[in-house]
Symmetry: C2
Subunit: 78 residues, 2 copies
Protein backbone atom coordinates (compact mmCIF):
# COMPACT_ATOMS: atom_id res chain seq x y z
CA UNK A 1 0.00 0.00 0.00
CA UNK A 2 1.00 3.57 -0.66
CA UNK A 3 1.50 5.72 2.44
CA UNK A 4 0.64 9.38 2.91
CA UNK A 5 4.27 10.10 3.88
CA UNK A 6 5.51 8.78 0.53
CA UNK A 7 2.89 10.82 -1.38
CA UNK A 8 3.94 13.94 0.55
CA UNK A 9 7.59 13.23 -0.14
CA UNK A 10 7.03 12.96 -3.91
CA UNK A 11 4.94 16.16 -4.03
CA UNK A 12 7.63 18.02 -2.08
CA UNK A 13 10.25 16.72 -4.53
CA UNK A 14 8.28 18.12 -7.51
CA UNK A 15 7.80 21.48 -5.76
CA UNK A 16 11.50 21.81 -4.94
CA UNK A 17 12.46 20.85 -8.49
CA UNK A 18 10.50 23.88 -9.66
CA UNK A 19 12.07 26.09 -6.96
CA UNK A 20 8.67 27.00 -5.55
CA UNK A 21 7.89 27.77 -1.94
CA UNK A 22 4.96 26.09 -0.20
CA UNK A 23 3.30 29.53 -0.11
CA UNK A 24 3.54 30.03 -3.88
CA UNK A 25 2.46 26.49 -4.73
CA UNK A 26 -0.52 26.43 -2.36
CA UNK A 27 -1.52 29.89 -3.63
CA UNK A 28 -1.39 28.83 -7.28
CA UNK A 29 -3.26 25.61 -6.46
CA UNK A 30 -5.93 27.48 -4.50
CA UNK A 31 -5.26 25.37 -1.41
CA UNK A 32 -5.09 26.43 2.20
CA UNK A 33 -1.40 26.72 3.11
CA UNK A 34 -1.72 24.74 6.33
CA UNK A 35 -3.62 21.97 4.54
CA UNK A 36 -0.95 21.86 1.83
CA UNK A 37 1.82 21.70 4.41
CA UNK A 38 0.06 18.73 6.07
CA UNK A 39 -0.04 16.92 2.72
CA UNK A 40 3.74 17.29 2.29
CA UNK A 41 4.31 16.03 5.83
CA UNK A 42 2.08 13.01 5.22
CA UNK A 43 -0.48 14.12 7.78
CA UNK A 44 -3.20 14.32 5.11
CA UNK A 45 -3.78 12.12 2.10
CA UNK A 46 -4.72 14.36 -0.84
CA UNK A 47 -7.82 13.62 -2.90
CA UNK A 48 -7.58 13.22 -6.67
CA UNK A 49 -9.11 16.69 -7.02
CA UNK A 50 -6.32 18.11 -4.86
CA UNK A 51 -3.75 16.17 -6.91
CA UNK A 52 -5.07 17.87 -10.07
CA UNK A 53 -4.83 21.30 -8.41
CA UNK A 54 -1.26 20.67 -7.26
CA UNK A 55 -0.23 19.26 -10.66
CA UNK A 56 -1.80 22.29 -12.37
CA UNK A 57 0.21 24.65 -10.17
CA UNK A 58 3.39 22.66 -10.93
CA UNK A 59 2.51 22.52 -14.64
CA UNK A 60 3.00 18.73 -14.83
CA UNK A 61 0.41 16.13 -15.88
CA UNK A 62 -1.24 14.62 -12.76
CA UNK A 63 -0.51 11.06 -13.93
CA UNK A 64 3.23 11.81 -13.91
CA UNK A 65 3.12 12.47 -10.17
CA UNK A 66 1.20 9.19 -9.68
CA UNK A 67 3.73 7.32 -11.82
CA UNK A 68 6.55 8.68 -9.63
CA UNK A 69 4.66 7.53 -6.53
CA UNK A 70 4.24 4.06 -8.09
CA UNK A 71 8.00 3.84 -8.71
CA UNK A 72 8.74 4.87 -5.12
CA UNK A 73 6.29 2.25 -3.82
CA UNK A 74 8.05 -0.42 -5.93
CA UNK A 75 11.45 0.66 -4.61
CA UNK A 76 10.27 0.57 -1.01
CA UNK A 77 8.79 -2.92 -1.37
CA UNK A 78 11.75 -4.59 -3.15
CA UNK B 1 -10.86 21.49 -12.64
CA UNK B 2 -11.66 17.81 -12.33
CA UNK B 3 -15.01 16.99 -10.75
CA UNK B 4 -15.83 14.09 -8.43
CA UNK B 5 -18.57 12.97 -10.86
CA UNK B 6 -16.06 12.57 -13.67
CA UNK B 7 -13.66 10.63 -11.41
CA UNK B 8 -16.50 8.32 -10.36
CA UNK B 9 -17.57 7.86 -13.97
CA UNK B 10 -14.05 6.77 -15.04
CA UNK B 11 -13.68 4.36 -12.09
CA UNK B 12 -17.07 2.83 -12.89
CA UNK B 13 -15.99 2.41 -16.51
CA UNK B 14 -12.85 0.49 -15.46
CA UNK B 15 -14.88 -1.71 -13.10
CA UNK B 16 -17.45 -2.58 -15.78
CA UNK B 17 -14.69 -3.30 -18.29
CA UNK B 18 -13.47 -6.01 -15.90
CA UNK B 19 -17.02 -7.31 -15.37
CA UNK B 20 -16.77 -6.77 -11.62
CA UNK B 21 -19.62 -5.89 -9.29
CA UNK B 22 -19.25 -3.02 -6.81
CA UNK B 23 -19.32 -5.67 -4.06
CA UNK B 24 -16.38 -7.61 -5.50
CA UNK B 25 -14.32 -4.54 -6.28
CA UNK B 26 -14.83 -2.88 -2.89
CA UNK B 27 -14.09 -6.22 -1.21
CA UNK B 28 -10.83 -6.70 -3.11
CA UNK B 29 -9.85 -3.08 -2.48
CA UNK B 30 -10.64 -3.35 1.23
CA UNK B 31 -13.07 -0.45 1.03
CA UNK B 32 -16.44 -0.04 2.68
CA UNK B 33 -19.06 -0.82 0.03
CA UNK B 34 -21.16 2.28 0.76
CA UNK B 35 -18.08 4.48 0.61
CA UNK B 36 -17.07 2.92 -2.71
CA UNK B 37 -20.56 3.41 -4.11
CA UNK B 38 -20.41 7.11 -3.15
CA UNK B 39 -17.12 7.46 -5.04
CA UNK B 40 -18.69 6.08 -8.25
CA UNK B 41 -21.65 8.43 -7.86
CA UNK B 42 -19.34 11.42 -7.38
CA UNK B 43 -20.49 12.01 -3.82
CA UNK B 44 -16.98 11.44 -2.48
CA UNK B 45 -13.63 12.38 -3.98
CA UNK B 46 -11.23 9.47 -3.44
CA UNK B 47 -7.81 10.07 -1.90
CA UNK B 48 -4.66 8.92 -3.69
CA UNK B 49 -4.44 6.03 -1.20
CA UNK B 50 -7.96 4.95 -2.18
CA UNK B 51 -7.02 5.28 -5.88
CA UNK B 52 -4.12 2.86 -5.30
CA UNK B 53 -6.45 0.38 -3.55
CA UNK B 54 -9.01 0.54 -6.38
CA UNK B 55 -6.32 0.25 -9.07
CA UNK B 56 -4.83 -2.74 -7.22
CA UNK B 57 -8.22 -4.47 -7.17
CA UNK B 58 -8.66 -3.73 -10.89
CA UNK B 59 -5.07 -4.82 -11.60
CA UNK B 60 -4.26 -1.66 -13.56
CA UNK B 61 -1.50 0.87 -12.79
CA UNK B 62 -2.96 3.81 -10.80
CA UNK B 63 -1.50 6.38 -13.22
CA UNK B 64 -3.52 4.82 -16.07
CA UNK B 65 -6.76 5.71 -14.31
CA UNK B 66 -5.47 9.27 -13.77
CA UNK B 67 -4.47 9.53 -17.43
CA UNK B 68 -8.00 8.50 -18.44
CA UNK B 69 -9.42 11.16 -16.12
CA UNK B 70 -7.09 13.76 -17.70
CA UNK B 71 -8.35 12.84 -21.18
CA UNK B 72 -11.96 13.12 -20.05
CA UNK B 73 -11.24 16.54 -18.50
CA UNK B 74 -9.72 17.69 -21.81
CA UNK B 75 -12.74 16.43 -23.75
CA UNK B 76 -15.17 18.17 -21.41
CA UNK B 77 -13.35 21.51 -21.64
CA UNK B 78 -12.90 21.61 -25.44
Amino acid sequence: MVKAELIGHVIRWYRKEQHMSQEVLSGLAGLDRTHYSKIERGLRSPTIETLFRIAGALDVPPHMIIETIEKEVEKSTI
